[in-house]
Amino acid sequence: MAELAPSDGYPAAGSGDSVLATLEQAATPPLVRRWLDNLVPVLIVLVILIAVWYASSAYFNLQNLDSLVVPPPGWQKLSLLEKIHRSLTTDQPLVPTPNQTFSDFFNDLKQSPTADGTLWSDIFWTGQVAVLGFLLGSVIGIALALLFLSSRILAQALMPYVVASQTVPIIALVPPLIVTIGLGIRSEILVSAYLAFFSITISTYKGLQSVEPLAFDLMRSYAASRRQIFTKLRLPASLPFMFTGLKIGVTASLIGAVVAELSSGSSHGLGQRLVTTTTDGLYIPLWSTIVATACVGLILYGALVALEKALVRQRVEATA
């Protein structure tokens, strides 16, 4: 078998090793390629979403302009296409377009982060409330799960109340809370924690109970101590479950923070910004506040996914 020039791109016929090597290459596409494969469907949906957003901007703004008592000058004589164009460019839209929303969003971000009343300061405020509420909710959530684990009777006695706590609409709890402990960051953190702890309790409790009986038998055969059984078996086995709860909890804590600001008449935060922009009829800043809130949520969620990647070693089915 003569040596084949490497440039001809084909493995030498009959050389089993190189055939296998090419097969292996074919079986595992390069990382970038797989990454792109995952990204393409996401991008397609993004394009559809933006299209729907533009369409609804056009539709609702057109209706709005049509129904004005004093329509813009010359409005009646415009063709439909021109009307749609006006609907997408009006500076007082009912539903701002994506480009209006995002340019307002980025303009706001150019303002000084330290100055009062800027988008940045509201992001920091709400982010801080959500993070502290999440931490408090996690501590309470995990502590409750451990308590339930320690005593079946306690679990049976307390579980109905834990479930019932989540059936109370969170907005209903804000006024009495404000009355009791006053306006300010403490009550906002409490609302946030109240919303966050539930999923953490339930999933951690489930995780701590997820160990198969044979794994305990094994620990028993090693004469392992209770402490060892907990740290080497129960806790690591519960982590994937716990993280499912933590990821739901962190988004809930942000909802809690925003709802607390929104319904308490707070003078800070994204929730307050949602209220004031709505009542002032400033719909472009309203929508850029929504974008900012979504970004905070994504960052918090992403941080937990990163922590999960670092801590959880078992194979977990990819979850959103």
């Binding site: 090693y222 392992a224 080497k232």
Partner: protein, 288 residues
């Protein structure tokens, strides 16, 4: 139920009068018991009680297993063979009768880490690499890091998985996972290996290969093995003695001595004597 009341031995304490319990080491050994018995099961019965119903799981079991012996427990499902294995391992406690392991109670033996256990499913910890799974018992027993590492290398090469130490269990095939589980059971050098249908979930070819490997490991370690199976060829191929059990309640019906020469290799499976032993076990199993 009747077996319990008719049993001549009431309580485990009854064993206290037995001679081997208080025989000092210096005394000349009794010639009849040339190989010291590792496990001594005396008139053990066990009643499962669940939701008010009581079920006699095993009844009047008496069995002596010698040091270094390979004994299989075989019988149809529900004959109590797994229960008996768990009784030996102190994962269950007998209702009446007693179990002695090296002259101690089963509970003491467990606390002294005499037992390595292997179950039908490998029960590996998903979040630990193969290496760290094998090391788990050593970690619990506070063995130093260096010793853990060298022992792990040794064990992984014993079960032919040197190259897989850094993999996670879910990256291995079922047969490989079970080999990891055997390595883990051997890691702390237990004197007794208790195996509950360890190869029951594997395909025939893998099972036969692992049978060979197990015999090889057994001959190197000299461990006493109690092996639960429902495969007749597997029991005959591996064992010194095959204990045949019958269900409802679980009793020992027969014990078949497998006097086939060792070391046993693949060629034994073609041997006429091997077939005779299989036929004997099978007929005993069906007549009971």
């Amino acid at each position: 139920m009747s077996a319990m009341s008719s049993g001549p031995l009431g309580h485990p304490q009854g064993d206290a009068g037995h001679p081997q319990g208080d025989a000092p080491t210096g005394v000349a050994p009794t010639p009849q018991h040339a190989p010291a018995s590792a496990i001594r099961i005396e008139n053990v019965s066990m009643v499962y009680a669940s939701r008010g119903e009581r079920l006699l799981a095993v009844s009047d079991i008496a069995l002596d297993i010698a040091e270094g012996e390979f004994v299989s427990l075989i019988g149809p499902s529900g004959c109590g063979k797994s229960t008996l294995l768990r009784l030996i391992g102190d994962l269950l406690q007998p209702t009446t009768g007693g179990i002695e392991v090296h002259g101690r109670s089963a509970a003491d033996a467990r606390r002294k880490r005499d037992y390595g256990m292997v179950f039908q499913s490998p029960v590996l910890y998903d979040w630990r690499t193969v290496e760290r799974n094998v090391q788990l018992p050593l970690e619990l027993m506070n063995v130093s890091k260096g010793e853990r590492a060298s022992r792990t290398r040794e064990l992984l090469s014993l079960v032919g998985l040197e190259e897989f130490g850094r993999r996670y269990p879910w990256q291995l095939s079922g047969g490989m996972q079970q080999r990891v589980s055997i390595a883990r059971a051997l890691s702390f050098r237990p004197s007794i290996l208790l195996m509950d249908e360890p190869f029951g979930a594997l395909d025939e070819m893998t099972r036969e290969r692992l049978n060979m490997e197990l015999l090889n490991i057994w001959s190197q370690t000299g461990t006493t093995v109690v092996f639960v199976t429902h495969s007749i060829p597997e029991a005959v191929f591996l064992s010194d003695r095959v204990v045949i059990m019958t269900p409802r309640p679980g009793r020992i019906e027969h014990i078949v001595d497998v006097e086939l020469p060792r070391p046993r290799g693949a060629e034994l499976r073609e041997d006429e004597h091997f077939f005779h032993r299989i036929a004997e076990v099978r007929s005993r199993l069906y007549e009971s």
